[in-house]
């Protein structure tokens, strides 16, 4: 995924967070991976979202009871990167 320098930076940091949560090398996490593929369960997801909030100083709207109803798309690593970029843009202006 080509992007500008800010996008690359968000992407790199999110991949690092997800890799740490999945106990994988950064190189093993691809943009098309799903959290299931990476072996991240519901508790791991909540922890990863917390790490993302702390890293980017944003609020992520996510309720574990209705992940599909959340505005925060977690269907793949790429989706998470896009969602975080959007939240950073709206919450950090």
């Amino acid at each position: 995924m080509a992007g500008n320098s800010v996008g690359d930076s968000v992407q790199d940091r999110i991949i690092a967070i997800i890799a740490e949560q999945a106990v994988l090398e950064v190189g093993d996490v691809s943009m098309t991976s799903t959290l299931d593929d990476l072996g991240i369960d519901s508790l791991g997801l909540v922890e990863a979202i917390f790490a993302i909030e702390e890293a980017f100083d944003i609020q992520v709207p996510f309720n574990a009871n209705e992940p599909q109803a959340s505005e925060f798309d977690i269907s793949s690593v790429a989706a998470i990167v896009r969602a975080v970029e959007g939240l950073v843009a709206t919450q950090k202006t």
Binding site: L43, V46, N63, A64, N65, E66, A69
Partner: protein, 402 residues
């Protein structure tokens, strides 16, 4: 030979009322006690609702020295215990044969919160001398023992959301197997403080608008606070003093999932349900009502319904199961105690408390959840489910008064 155990007293304070009659009236009317939280720094919370005891004035009930020693969870306990004991007194050998076992998950959460605030935020280097005896989990049980001269087996139980059921199970077994004649039991929780809510927010399982157990559009749990306390008594002992018998406790079972720290297990829950039936000498067909754990989370409600279906087989479709957490919220370590009030109401008054906030059927919760309106029904045996974080399950079985 085992002895029979009956319930001869009940008391409560919770978001639905300051005593049992008010609470039962709310159950009958399907009234919701959940509303906007009134607490310090609520604007910094993302979850702003709860089943809070409103209009509460401790200074009208306790003197200054008592308030220095009684955390809110202890105050709630003493209020409920006074109603439950209703003038009972204990002396001599009778006192030695009476005890108190109470559930609480967090104990004096407000005391922790206030004093951490004072040393960390306000930079103070000194706290009140009674912080430790005020916040300890057994403070409520100890103050009840002192207030009523209960000198037998007394302790507190902390198993998160199953604390009260585990506590009442211990009270039941102590009497059944001869360790005591009277046990004051139940539980209390007062976790609605800034830190208490903040901790729960982190798990992202809380609803921001309502607790809708079993409804397809449920979106999480809502915390409550309060206490319920009961007098459990050996049957002959109760008869000898001419006490009114509210219900009989006939069975109790506890199991551990040994699986996951937060996700519930159908098998662990089903084993606890089946165990309580067996312990109580009940056939599945005897049970007319179950007070569900019913937290309103996606995970609990579907797992609980599957466990009930598994344990009861075909009879699962004939029984009623409701979650009163929709009205009083989830009292965490005190929840099983407040919910036992609904079990006793079902047996004694023939009224089944509803699951309110029910809006959309969920095929994964396809049982009779008594949606939105209380129902008149005669039932002769009931269960009360509690399934805690940490996979610790406790189910009580009750029958109508003999």
């Amino acid at each position: 030979m085992t002895r029979r155990v009956v319930i001869t007293g009940q008391g409560t304070i919770n978001a639905l009322g300051v005593d049992v009659p008010q609470t039962l009236e709310a159950f009958r009317e399907g009234r919701c006690g959940i509303g906007p939280l009134e607490l310090r720094d609520v604007d910094r919370l993302s979850v702003k609702i709860g089943g809070q005891v409103k209009g509460y004035d401790p200074e009208a009930l306790f003197n200054r020295q008592q308030i220095a020693l009684y955390d809110r969870f202890t105050q709630f306990t003493l209020i409920a215990a006074k109603q439950a004991l209703d003038g009972m007194s204990f002396s001599g050998e009778a006192a030695a044969r009476a005890g108190v076992v109470l559930g609480t998950a967090g104990g004096g959460v407000n005391t922790w919160d206030e004093n951490y605030r004072s040393v960390y935020e306000e930079g103070k280097n000194r706290v009140h001398p009674f912080v430790v005896p005020k916040l300890m989990n057994n403070a409520a049980a100890s103050h009840v023992s002192m207030e009523y001269n209960l000198k037998g087996p007394s302790f507190s139980v902390a198993t998160a959301c199953a604390s009260s059921n585990h506590a009442m199970g211990q009270a039941f077994n102590l009497i059944r197997y001869g360790g005591a004649d009277v046990m004051v039991t139940g539980g209390s929780e007062a976790m609605l403080s800034f830190g208490g809510i903040k901790a729960w927010e982190g798990l992202r399982v809380m609803s921001k608008d309502a607790c809708r157990p079993f409804s397809a559009n449920r979106n999480g749990m809502v915390q409550g606070e309060g206490a319920a306390v009961f007098v459990f008594e050996e049957y002959q002992h109760a008869c000898n003093r001419g006490a009114e018998i509210l219900a009989e406790v006939v069975g109790f079972a506890m199991t551990s999932d040994a699986a996951d720290i937060v996700m519930p297990s159908q098998q662990g829950a089903a084993r606890a349900i089946a165990g309580a039936l067996k312990d109580g000498g009940l056939n599945p067909g005897d049970v007319g009502y179950i007070n569900a754990h019913g937290t309103g989370t996606a995970a609990n409600d579907k797992v609980e319904c599957a466990a009930v279906a598994h344990a009861f087989g075909a009879h699962a479709d004939d029984l009623m199961i409701s979650s009163t957490k929709s009205m009083h919220g989830h009292l965490i370590g005190g929840t099983g105690a407040v919910e036992l009030l609904a079990c006793i109401m079902a047996l004694k008054d023939g009224v089944i408390a509803p699951t309110i906030g029910y809006e959309e059927p969920d095929p994964e919760c396809a049982l009779d959840v008594v949606p939105n309106e209380a129902r008149d029904a005669q039932v002769s045996a009931v269960l009360s489910n509690a399934f805690a974080f940490g996979g610790l399950n406790a189910v009580l079985a009750l029958r109508a008064a003999p």
